[in-house]
């Protein structure tokens, strides 16, 4: 369906990534936000708290990030689209209830405007070191979706996509910004509401009594009933059967967790999203995401001036990872070079998929700034030697 015009600030704006992300959430139909202040993400909820009262939205500043995430999961069960926004330390605190959202199959979006870590780290300075935490941060086996925007425009556009994916797969979608994109101000064009496609919360048409909250009916994603419509359903973070009742058995565990993983893995071809250019006949491919994808541009140009054929992969959806494509590319290039603002996280995925068929080259940066493009160029040159 088309977006509710009440949440769409149509026009050309000059916005930072945080504000653009907030606008994206409102355009996507988000009407509940719980958050706790943390640099460099707070601008998102500041924007929301100023605009929500005019569109039937409710923002509540909770006492901590544990509460914020729990409130978002609770609110989503009323059918109201919900999200929260945080940065590294808060992201750590949210992990348990992100797992709850996975287990209860609760659509929601969690924005992490990444800063330098570990611990309090570099509160006002950039980082990309939570990428593996996004994938593995909550306990247990699970799959979810994570995205990474490279500009304020994308912070707007992809936030809408994040909400849509959350609805389609009933899963938390982690929106992995970085401080640079969050605080970078650029032109953001917000289209008219009738040009924005949103996925509404689809409610079950079953009658109460015929409804089981986790009966997948051969589909991967079960139908949803919201609190207050008379279904009197039960949901739990415990391993549960199709009725949502706890069942402590290896069989039930396997059936449930396998489906939770398969609904993402089995649809990975539809979810995976990346940009690719000049990879045909390339000697080296540079794979990056977020702000680093923009910084890498200059490093790539420098290497091209020196005669190296360099292809580009920019991840837009980071989890699930584009395994298939990386496996193919690994057979055609000498190396995949991965600059990222950490000491080597997504490069591990590249290495896994390449499986020794090409070199995987990490170009690390500890955070607090972005790469010097010449370092990326040097890594490319080193890889073709």
């Amino acid at each position: 369906m088309k977006a509710d015009p009440a949440g769409v600030l149509t026009g050309a704006h000059y916005l930072d990534g945080d504000f653009a992300c907030g606008e994206g959430a409102m355009a996507a139909g988000c009407r509940f936000t719980a958050g706790y202040p943390i640099t460099p993400s707070t601008e998102v909820v500041e924007r929301i708290s100023r605009r929500f009262p005019m569109m039937g939205g409710t923002f509540v500043q909770m006492e901590d990030e544990l509460a914020s995430m729990a409130a978002v999961v609770g609110a989503s069960w009323t059918g109201t689209k919900s999200f929260t926004v945080t940065s590294g330390p808060g992201f750590s605190l949210m992990m348990e209830n992100i797992g709850l959202a996975v287990m209860m199959e609760t659509p929601c979006v969690v924005v992490n405007v990444q800063r330098g870590g570990p611990s309090t780290g570099l509160p006002t300075m950039t980082g990309q070191a939570d990428m593996m935490q996004a994938r593995w941060g909550s306990h247990g086996d699970y799959e979810l979706i994570a995205m990474s925007p490279q500009s304020p425009q994308e912070a707007f556009d992809l936030t809408i996509d994040a909400f849509n994916l959350a609805e389609l797969y009933r899963v938390p979608v982690l929106f992995m910004m970085d401080e640079c994109v969050g605080h970078m101000t650029e032109k953001v064009v917000i289209p008219p509401a009738d040009e924005i496609e949103i996925v509404p919360r689809k409610l079950t048409k079953s009658k109460p009594g015929d409804f089981e909250p986790y009966r997948a009916n051969g589909q991967m994603v079960p139908e949803f009933a919201r609190a207050g419509d008379g279904y009197r359903f039960h949901t739990t973070g415990l391993t549960h059967d199709e009725r949502g009742y706890p069942e402590m058995s290896a069989e039930c565990q396997d059936k449930l967790v396998r489906r939770l993983m398969d609904k993402i893995n089995g649809n990975a071809d539809k979810i995976v999203r990346f940009e690719e250019e000049d990879t045909d006949g390339a000697d080296v491919v540079v794979l990056s995401y977020g702000i680093t994808a923009r910084v890498a541009r200059e490093g790539i140009d420098l290497a091209r001036e020196k005669g190296v054929k360099v292809g580009v992969i920019r991840l837009i959806v980071v989890w699930p990872f584009p395994e298939k494509r990386i496996r193919e590319l690994a057979g055609t290039v000498k190396a995949i070079v991965v600059p990222e603002i950490n000491y080597g996280q997504m490069v591990l995925e590249v290495e896994r998929c390449a499986a020794g068929r090409c070199a995987s080259v990490c170009v690390p940066h500890g955070g607090g700034g972005v790469h010097d493009p010449s370092d990326i160029c040097d890594a490319i040159m080193g890889a073709v030697k």
């Binding site: 978002v72 999961v73 009323t78 949901t235 009742y245």
Partner: protein, 298 residues
């Protein structure tokens, strides 16, 4: 020759509270003489007599023995994470303001790991009813010390007696702004039911503490006898003192338990305050979330 004893066929009569429970999940997990089931029965009776719209009633629990209550109630029921029932309930209430939301959980869940949420929800006067069953101990994990374990009582992690001062929960709730505060034991079934009914009829952060026996762990570790002995103790050692100063209702080991309704006030809830503020400052531009929630549909 064997004798066949004929028994009168049991009358196929449904238990009066059956419609309120998930009978397909019975038997429950609670131990014999546990007080939680009694508290549930009182709550169900209060729901029935209050004639609340059960389709618009949600119940949220955390983790623990009392954390299993939501799972047995035939309502929209949420068995959330340890300590997070109150913020989860906050999300439900704010996401669909017409809901009547009750949190049912234990002392460890709500006042230990979830203590921060408890005080802030009371401060905000979030419109939820919080039922805390206090058995003075972590039951499900095997009898460890709780923030409510009385001084001197033994627990599996205070084997030589507890030396940490416990919470006085009614006082905590009252000082943080709860508009309704009461305490009963699981022996006080009529008064507890009445208190539930009263609280269901109020708005804002309502808090009812129910002292309940844990004969499997608390009583065994402290050699307090059987379930019967515990009920006898409640009978002999509780005093009803409505309107008592909550500073005076702390619980000492095997000492008098003051019960009653301590606070019953009316103050604007979080949502009342929010609406007022936005209406005053934004006028006609303010669009409150519809009572049925912010669900956007075609």
């Amino acid at each position: 020759m064997s004798e066949v004893i004929e028994r009168a066929e049991a009358l196929a009569e449904e238990h009066p509270v059956a419609p309120y429970l998930r009978m397909d999940r019975i038997p429950h997990i609670w131990c014999p003489t546990c007080g939680i089931g009694t508290v549930v029965k009182c709550f169900v009776t209060a729901l029935e007599e209050s004639k609340v719209d059960l389709d618009k009633t949600s119940i949220v629990s955390g983790i623990g023995c009392t954390g299993r209550v939501a799972g047995y109630m035939n309502l929209d029921a949420f068995h959330s994470t340890h300590g997070r029932a109150i913020p989860f309930a906050t999300g439900l209430k704010l996401g669909r303001p017409e809901l009547f939301v009750t949190v049912f959980s234990g002392d460890g869940d709500l006042s230990g790991i979830g203590g921060n949420h408890f005080i802030h929800a009371a401060r905000r006067n979030m419109d939820i009813l919080v039922v805390l069953v206090n058995n003075f101990i972590y039951g499900m994990t095997g009898g460890q010390n709780a923030p409510t374990t009385p001084l001197g009582a033994k627990s599996s992690t205070m084997p030589f007696g507890n030396f940490e001062r416990p919470f006085n929960l009614p006082h905590l709730a009252a000082t943080c702004g709860a508009v309704y505060v009461a305490r009963w034991t699981s022996l006080h079934i009529r008064r507890l039911t009445k208190s539930f009914k009263e609280a269901i009829g109020r708005k804002g952060f309502r808090f009812i503490e129910v002292i309940a026996p844990c004969s499997t762990l608390y009583a065994r570790l402290n050699k307090l006898g059987t379930g019967f002995n515990l009920m006898q103790f409640y009978h002999d050692s509780t005093e009803i003192r409505h309107g008592a100063d909550t500073r005076d209702v702390g619980i000492d080991y095997q000492d008098e338990i003051i019960c009653g309704k301590f606070v019953d006030e009316q103050r604007p809830t979080f949502l009342d305050m929010m609406h007022d503020q936005y209406r005053r400052t934004l006028g006609d531009k303010y669009v409150p979330m519809p009572q049925e929630g912010g669900h956007i549909h075609e």
